[in-house]
Symmetry: C2
Subunit: 417 residues, 2 copies
């Protein structure tokens, strides 16, 4: 005979199903809807000019090249492209991706590539293979929201290290590692967005890259380099990837979402065999494989040179929008004491810091009332501890919208000072 249960009575009364948080895993009980996602709902009003999202401009999508590629795929290999494929990804595409990396100065072996359902899946797999509940990792302060969410969803504990205008500060990294190691909480890895960091827009110069690598080598840490748009540089000189500087110690995550198009959800992970192998095993049970259809199309699109042509176009378009936003901020806000912003050399975002005492969470509703939107800085902190910063996107809004949106934001800040 089965023993009676605490909730049997409720059930025998024909009560509702176990509709309670307790039936979920501990990780799921902690899950929250993405802040950005909820904010984006508020910005759905067409009157609102939104600097909140991270969308690429749709006019940059290579529609014609995709059309031609699909035709070839369906004419020449329909049965392969519409069938299941290998978990690691299409072999031809993996060779293409290695070439993309090599053109960017990073020697690459196709065998070390895992094609992912965009780089968000790379982050999810990293969380899955590294975190037991309570395990720590190092992230920037601020850091990419999607990474924080992916890590937390495996009950990982991201520990923040402050950034300055040149990215993660090595001395602060050492201090944080000392503290964590001292507490017996050795981090699983150090997570970096080295180029035009999301959300801060800052880039780590080569000397600092070397410094961070030597810290990682000395203490035997894996580095994770998340680099979704390092090809989108508008000014200054390219820095070498962490991958090229320390291939045995770096897992790199790439995506086509910002440099080609996001609608295929296609990215890749590159790194030491022992990490990639475990990610492959994990991916088998996650989705078997990334869609072979979009992999085959992308292989054909890459063969046309559309990626690099598109990147040139993106650089012109986004570079112009960035310059416009910086000019407007200079014009409208340089008279306000304590307001400052980063001057990213590439990417999609800049980071604006409000004057002491002004709170980007609190004034978000006011901003919406002024028909302009941003993402409050707290979203990018592991414990939501920042309230002065905000992330502004300059890739999606048109020049006209940027002009009007910056004006609205400036008016609001002036009103509040």
């Amino acid at each position: 005979m089965r023993k009676p249960h605490a909730h049997d009575e409720q059930l025998l009364r024909g009560g509702p199903l176990v509709e309670r948080e307790e039936v979920f895993s501990s990780r799921a009980r902690g899950m929250k809807r993405s802040v950005i996602r909820e904010l984006l709902k508020l910005t759905a009003n067409p009157e609102v000019i939104s600097f909140a999202g991270g969308l690429p401009a749709p006019e940059t999508f290579p529609v014609d090249e995709v059309r031609e590629a699909v035709t070839k795929v369906l004419d020449e290999e329909p049965h392969k492209a519409l069938q299941y494929g290998p978990t690691e990804g299409d072999g031809r595409l993996r060779r293409d991706l290695a070439e993309v990396m090599e053109r960017d100065g990073t020697p690459a072996d196709p065998e070390r590539i895992l094609v992912t359902t965009a780089s968000q899946q790379g982050l999810d797999l990293v969380g899955k293979i590294f975190f037991d509940p309570g395990d720590t990792c190092i992230v920037g302060l601020p850091s990419y929201l999607g990474a924080l969410q992916a890590f937390k969803n495996y009950e990982g504990v991201p520990v923040g290290v402050p950034l300055d205008d040149h990215g993660m500060i090595p001395e602060e990294l050492v201090k944080t590692l000392d503290r964590l190691e001292g507490e017996g909480r050795r981090p699983k890895f150090i997570y970096l967005v080295p180029d035009f960091q999301n959300p801060a827009g800052v880039t780590i110069p080569v000397e600092r890259r070397r410094k961070i690598i030597s810290i990682a080598e000395e203490r035997d840490y894996l580095l994770i380099e998340d680099t979704p748009y390092r090809q989108l540089r508008y000014t200054g000189k390219h820095e070498p990837t962490f991958q090229s500087l320390a291939p045995e110690r770096v897992l790199s995550l790439y995506t086509f979402s910002k440099i080609l198009l996001p609608g295929f959800r296609l990215g890749w992970a590159y790194g030491p065999e022992w990490v990639i192998n475990k990610m492959v095993m994990s991916k088998q049970a996650v989705d078997l494989c990334t869609p072979p259809f979009t992999q085959a199309i992308t292989h054909r699109v890459l063969a046309t040179g559309a990626l690099w042509k598109g990147i040139e176009y993106n650089i012109k378009l986004y570079g112009g929008r960035r310059e416009l936003m910086l000019d407007l901020l200079d014009r409208h806000l340089s008279d306000v004491d304590g307001v400052k912003w980063t001057r990213p050399e590439g990417g999609l975002f800049l980071w604006l810091t409000l004057p002491e005492g002004m709170n980007s969470d609190d004034i978000f509703k006011d901003a919406i009332d002024h028909n302009v939107a941003y993402v409050p800085g707290s979203a990018f902190y592991p414990n939501a501890e920042d309230h002065q910063g905000m992330r502004l996107n300059f890739s999606y809004a048109s020049e006209e919208q940027i002009g009007e949106g910056v004006k609205r934001l400036s008016d609001l800040i002036h009103d509040l000072v």
Copy 2:
């Protein structure tokens, strides 16, 4: 000052990176490469006739309809289809999916649909939201390999309940629940593949469905109904879905992989709001959204009626292959004492049981030497405890190959008896 670490010495010697299992999460240390996947490598030899995979026949893919759909998508909505999309999925497609369910006798609300990167992602999300390490769930003996793998990858513990020719045996279910509840190990859910079960090929009749539901209701369990090919019925009458019988208690997982094409990796989950909500939250950090491009294409393909036309074609093709395989087994193996096989009314697989004392793992290499392949039954048991069964697929091999392959397998069995 940082305290010295056990492995510091190794590192200071410039030794290799933390290239050890211990750096991984406990779940990742337990991950193994899929058995099927490794087996498929052995079957890559074109001489081998493989009944091992679960691939649909490529001649069933609606290539022309896909071509037309892509043209429309790229002409009419390129900027939407190539952009990011909502995590829940394309609203139009969700309405289509509700219609697919309704046509199948299951009333459905589009708001309760989450589009997934095929049903494997559905299983992964289920694992993620329900399992803390050691948590149990009920599965069939045997059970779908990909589900076992997905659940184990979250350190869930699938506990098997025997099947007979009519699926999971209710009396055995009650016994197992009694035992687990008695041990304080209340399962998180009961996982079922009610139609043409993978791997056994058996179907649960409506009376038994009702019985299982009443057990679940009495004890307040969630049921998971994984139903990848219930539309592929070759004989007998359709049974109602668990979803239609108990909508508040059933999470259903669907996929297009077997009824349309697998190369889009497109499926959906349908269930009570409290479960779907948590899956949506979880999916946000997993891949943000399933590719909007393939969702838009599928929406257009569905509008042409290609799904139901294709299902009719599949039923003819696979139904014929099933009949052929059953006839050949009857002809070649009914004289061998103790060999038996299931007679599935639909789906892609049947289950063959070897005579007492013969081991499907052990003779696998012999089978490969005879140029024929199957999946050993142990792959479908949570603790690999079966060694007499094997899964045979009848959807992928041609009639000619089925003829020759069954002959080879029969010869082997005869030789070994």
